[in-house]
């Protein structure tokens, strides 16, 4: 009897707790749903518009395309002046990512392993370049690259983006390298590895995830930047983002094509994210947790 009476309040709290935890899960789901909805709505609207005709966009307000059309995409994919923009963008983004990583790797190693004259000042000075407003550099870059004959080339944009990507890559890689015990280096040297062979064969595989994260960030910041890439190009290396301004024609803006072009610029980013989805959480901590 004693047992039975004692169990009733226990049972009640049990149910109460179960209900509370369910409510908490629900409130989490609600928060995330609202936030993701907020993120997705503008993108949905862009996608929605890109599948409509201009007449429909301008004359009726519809939540879904009434007469679905892929004409806007066809316009872009059939016109080299359009699609070469994507090619140009991808070329300089990849060039930039490779250059940034190649120079940042040894530097990050030096910062993570050695103490040398002026190391701290140098590190902060590198970081200051990440803080340099592109607007400050736009005009000098224009003059610099014109004077050395690199204006309107992919390499010019790639080099210009190194301004903020190299410091970022050094910073990220240094964080990951600090996590690798120094004993590994020492063991390798004792085993007779040369610095180069050790670095490529042993060290780089150890920080592979860090390299991946750095590459992701370089790709990201180079892909999304417009001010410098637009200033440094006119025709041959013009990025897609700059070409988008072409939609302003004599008869007003071609909204459908503009939206389609916008959607297409999201695709490479979405692909990259899809491939790194399992590393995002760890990657964003930049090796610092």
């Amino acid at each position: 009897m004693v047992d039975a009476t004692a169990q009733i309040p226990g049972g009640a709290t049990a149910k109460g707790q179960a209900r509370r935890s369910k409510e908490r899960i629900n409130s989490r789901a609600v928060v995330m749903t609202l936030y993701l909805l907020f993120l997705m709505l503008p993108i949905y609207w862009l996608l929605n518009m890109s599948l409509k005709t201009n007449t429909e966009i301008l004359n009726t307000f519809t939540l879904f395309p009434r007469d679905l059309t892929f004409a806007n995409y066809a316009t872009i994919l059939n016109d080299p002046a359009w699609y070469m923009g994507y090619v140009n963008s991808l070329i300089y983004v990849v060039m930039n990512t490779v250059i940034s990583l190649v120079v940042a790797l040894p530097a990050a190693y030096a910062f993570s392993r050695y103490q040398f004259m002026g190391d701290k000042h140098l590190f902060f000075w590198l970081l200051t370049n990440r803080m340099a407003p592109p607007a400050v550099f736009a005009l000098p870059f224009f003059q610099l690259y014109s004077s050395v004959g690199l204006f309107d080339t992919h390499i010019a944009v790639a080099l210009a983006h190194c301004l903020f990507n190299v410091p970022l890559a050094v910073w990220i890689l240094e964080g990951f390298m600090r996590g690798v015990p120094k004993e590994i280096d020492e063991t390798a040297y004792i085993d007779g590895y040369s610095f180069g062979r050790f670095f490529v064969k042993i060290f780089m595989p150890l920080i592979a995830s860090g390299i991946g994260v750095a590459a992701f960030f370089c790709f990201m910041f180079s892909w999304v930047e417009l001010l410098l890439s637009r200033t440094l190009t006119t025709v041959d290396a013009k990025p897609i983002a700059a070409i988008m301004t072409r939609t302003q024609g004599a008869s007003g803006i071609d909204w459908g094509v503009l939206a389609a072009a916008g959607v297409l610029t999201i695709v490479p980013g979405a692909l990259v994210i899809y491939f790194v989805r399992n590393y995002i959480a760890k990657g964003f901590a930049l090796g610092r947790v």
Binding site: D3, A6, Q7, G10, G11, T13, A14, K15, Q17
Partner: protein, 358 residues
């Protein structure tokens, strides 16, 4: 302080456990007596921590009930159970001072400041950290942090039980001894029900009144240190406790004789015919090497470990260990081993079989 009853308790980390193998903790019925000190002993992954977390309410069991003094708390949250638990790795609140860390559980329960200050002083003295009370916990060494964790576990006087999950793993050996002594003293003074999880037999045997040995998700024996030593209920207990562990030798049992390869060993009791895997178990302490008595044995190596000698030998193709006194002379012609019949246990399928008086 409370008596803790486990009723038909079992847990699986899988949502739909199909066979017994899916259970991390197999079905278990047990009473933890009020005010007793228990050690939960077993190798890693045997379900010790699972059991502990179920008792403290961090984990909901897949089946069965937990009762505190007869009150069902199976679904009650941790806070309602009023339990203290110390974990294997130090958990301290980095941004707080040592003092605030120790006071935290009391403040959360709304105790008045004068009482808190007094308790914190007391605990700080116990763990030897009075000097550091005003330091931030962040910069401390791992064992200082673990002492804080222990202190936080002990600061509340009115807990139903104190649970320790291998709390001394990160502590220096000499400090380990001291802290364990402190814990025993605490138990003696306040009489909390204590459950101490460990994989270290010395820790378990010196700390506890009763040791619960777990193996593969199952409680294989509960007993005093002496019982575990004299009558291991399962071959695992025999192996795990004692250094070196019990000798386990395959045998055939006939009445009060155990046949090993045609020769026999006398048993103090008589047994019915047994099926399955049949073995006899003898502690090295109850085996004796001599020139004349017993069965032939081939000595391989003698190790002098200080207090006594361990003789590694081969007995009809099985490795056995024999313990001899430090003063005893081992000569080359000692090639026979005899067992103390009263301390030879019989096992069928790893579980001990009770014999009948011969």
């Amino acid at each position: 302080m409370a008596k803790i009853t486990l009723d038909n308790l079992a847990h699986s980390y899988l949502p739909n456990p199909a066979s017994e193998d899916d259970y991390a903790l197999k079905e278990l019925n047990h009473d933890w007596d009020d005010g007793a000190a228990y050690a939960l002993l077993g190798s890693s992954g045997c379900g010790k921590s699972t059991l502990l977390n179920i008792i403290s309410g961090l984990l909901q069991p897949s089946q069965g009930r937990i009762l505190f003094d007869g009150r069902d708390v199976t679904h009650a949250p941790t806070a309602a159970r009023n339990i203290a638990q110390v974990f294997q790795f130090p958990v301290v609140y980095d941004t707080m001072t040592v003092r605030d860390n120790l006071a935290f559980p009391l403040r959360n329960r709304g105790r008045d400041e004068a009482y808190i200050a007094e308790r914190v002083q007391e605990i700080a003295r116990m763990i030897g950290m009075e000097e550091m009370l005003n330091k931030k916990a962040r910069g401390l060494t791992a064992d200082a942090k673990q002492k804080i964790s222990l202190g936080r576990g002990m600061v509340r006087k009115d807990v139903n039980a104190l649970l320790f999950d291998e709390p001394l793993t990160v502590i220096d050996p000499h400090m380990k001894w001291e802290l364990r002594t402190q814990l025993k003293k605490l138990h003696h003074d306040f009489g909390h029900t204590m459950i101490y999880v460990t994989h270290d037999q010395t820790e378990a045997l010196t700390f506890a009144d009763k040791v619960v040995v777990m193996y593969d998700g199952r409680v294989v024996q509960i007993g005093t240190p002496e019982e575990l030593f004299e009558r291991p209920e399962h071959t695992f207990v025999g192996y795990f406790i004692g250094s070196p562990g019990m000798n386990v030798i395959p045998a055939r049992i006939d009445g009060n004789k155990a046949y090993v390869n045609g020769s026999y060993v006398e048993l103090s009791q008589s047994y019915r015919p047994l099926s399955g895997k049949v073995e006899i178990g003898v502690r090295p302490e109850y085996a004796r090497l001599s020139q004349t008595d017993g069965l032939p044995v081939k000595v391989r190596r003698v190790e002098d470990v200080g207090r006594h000698k361990i003789i590694r030998a081969e007995f009809f193709g099985n490795d056995i260990n024999i313990i001899a006194d430090e003063g005893e002379q081992i000569s080359a012609d000692m090639n026979r081993v005899s067992f103390d019949a009263g301390h030879v246990n019989v096992y069928a399928n790893d579980w001990r079989v009770q014999g009948e008086a011969a």
